[in-house]
Amino acid sequence: MAEKSNVQAVHDTLQEEFRRDERLIIIGEDVGVRGGVFRVTEGFLEEFGPLRVIDAPLAESAIVGVAIGAAVAGLRPIAEMQFADFSAPAFEQIVDEAARIRYRSNGGFGVPLVIRMPWGGGVHGALYHSQSMEAFYAHVPGLKVVVPSTPYDITGMLRSAIADPDPVIFLEHKATYRLVKGEVPDAYYTIPLGPADVKRAGTDVTVYAYGLMLHHSLAAAALVEREGISVNVVDVRSLRPLDAETILREARKTGKCLIVYEDNRLFGAGAEIAAMIAEEAFDDLDAPVMRLAGPESPAMPFNKPQEDWFMQSPEKIAVKMRELAAY
């Protein structure tokens, strides 16, 4: 058992997998000499060489497109988007190509590809280093979109993502990279891509969250516990596939549901979770399904007052928990 930060978990898991399987390569910007802007591939170039650790030209569509071809022809590529925001130029390769290749070839070709993307705000990243991209990709059949938020989950789910025969968008919340630490067992284990995880058991309100919002929701749950409100926190660590069974079971348990997400609210991932609960657990609800999410501005501002305005915090989440508990 070792305590690791989230970013250490990504680094160590990738390194172990690179040692286990020579077919693994990583293609991205600054992944080689620099070891990645977040130090995720620190030491990789030295250990695995330039054929496997590829500093790509600054062209995200090519990074993903080349990775698709390499995956089809027998390698297991990891494509790194330096920031999730920068994946926009690769949108066509991800959505129209990677996601469809198995389908359009009627099972002839598959794309075993992991696209890693540091995402999320709260780091003074401003408009182009803070974005939530999950809703764009989670909408697409053929992709898997996962958002693990603890070192334990990151380790187990990154192993599964690398072993998966289909394209996986692997989202890593950059604000949690060094903020969140946790125990990781020494023994090898995996966590399947799909199942959600109840991170805190409670009886009054069920909260659904992922990424930094998961950790803020857990902090908020601790705040309101002193006031006698028992909060159940579900980590929605996979958006596609989405764990309907756990989501509905945990909704029925309390009858009061709050979905917290960092993205702007309209058409975000929380809308799908809310719709599922409203459609299928309606008879067990004691309050309207509520959402707490970002404002309808096109991106996150750089200045602190407006960044705070955009982001949810444990205090803001606690207000909503109290409102729902009192309903």
Binding site: G65, E97, N106, G108, P192
Partner: protein
């Protein structure tokens, strides 16, 4: 004297009689299928057709340089002759035309002409052609890393060379000196837009300069010239000297697709002029020089026509895809119980 020069051509290229007959067959089969498919569209039996007419010489020439045991091929939707030369059959072509369940490319999911064949390493086509180039470069990257000795070929039209993806692919392949051949079949039109609306430079091949890559412009109506240039490009890639941009000057006789009307953007005279340079007619000179006479060609033509007719009837009678199979092959395996997506 002219005959002597022509005769020495195929021999100088190392092509024997068997090669020439097979090349002729592939070109003729393409032409016959093409005409029959267009006819099927016009009588209402096929909703959509893409014609290859005019491109046969370039594609078959390129196909003859491909190492079928190991190379990866990323065709585009006008590459029927290429795929037939690589082994696609008339029956498979019609299964695609009629979108039958057994269509080897996509089980009838994609439009006709969107080739795919895992066994022959013909990688599934997209409709937006530009996306294919970075993927082709990725196939080359894997070939180099795995040491398979394969060369990756990516095909497209001149319109696709305006996309960012094409330029990103050219750059990536060149920076990493990959075993890649980029083949552009420049027929002068991207639907209605002439090449002059795609680029200011005279040739697509001129664009290679910016990537420090050789760019070669070849008369694509001449199958032997097409073969020679492709052979040289492959040899360069296989030696580890990096990618080549190969531009074939060709022409498409028919509109962009069966849904297009080309009368608004080009003259009938222009088409007639290009038809006088027809790659199959020109190949007759090569056959003459090799002693493959008219009677022998007529036999081949008759056999091909019978093959096409039989394949059409056979394909038309095969099963359609079932609606309940519409969600197959979204992922490698079905999702576990309780999961959605």
């Amino acid at each position: 004297m002219a005959t002597a020069v022509t005769a020495s051509r195929h021999l100088a290229l190392g092509l024997g009689e068997t090669d020439l007959v097979a090349m002729y067959r592939a070109m003729r089969l393409t032409r016959l299928l093409d005409q029959r498919m267009w006819q099927m569209n016009r009588i209402g039996r096929a909703p959509f057709v893409i014609s290859t007419g005019g491109h046969e010489g370039a594609e078959v020439g390129a196909a003859w340089a491909i190492d079928r045991r190991r190379d990866w091929i990323r065709p585009y939707y006008r590459d029927l002759a290429l795929c037939l030369a690589l082994g696609l059959t008339a029956l498979e072509t019609f299964l695609g035309l009629f979108a039958k369940a057994e269509d080897p490319a996509s089980g009838g999911r994609q439009m006709p002409g969107h080739f795919s064949d895992a066994g022959r390493r013909i990688f599934t086509c997209s409709s937006p052609v530009g996306t294919q180039f970075p993927q082709g470069v990725g196939l080359a990257l894997a070939a180099r890393t795995l040491g398979t000795g394969a060369v990756a070929w990516t095909f497209g039209g001149e319109g696709a060379t305006s996309t960012g993806d094409w330029h990103e692919a050219m750059n990536f392949a060149s920076v990493h000196k990959l075993p890649w051949v980029c083949v552009i079949e420049n027929n002068g039109y991207a639907i209605s837009e002439t090449a002059a609306k795609q680029m200011v430079v005279k040739n697509v091949a001129d664009r290679a300069v910016a990537y420090g890559m050789p760019g070669v412009t070849v008369d694509g109506m001449d199958a032997l010239a097409a073969y020679e240039a492709a052979r040289d490009a492959r040899a360069r890639a296989a030696r580890g000297d990096g990618p080549t941009l190969l531009e074939y000057r060709v022409y498409r006789y028919m509109p962009h697709t069966s849904d297009d009307d080309d009368r608004k953007y080009r003259t009938r005279e222009e088409i007639a002029d290009w038809r006088r340079r027809d790659p199959i007619d020109r190949f007759a000179e090569v056959l003459d020089a090799a002693g493959i006479d008219v009677a022998r060609r007529a036999e081949i033509d008759a056999a091909l026509q019978a093959e096409v007719d039989a394949a059409l009837d056979e394909a038309a009678g095969r099963a359609d895809p079932r609606p309940e199979d519409g969600d197959r092959h979204v992922y490698a395996t079905r999702l576990a119980e309780g999961l959605r997506g």
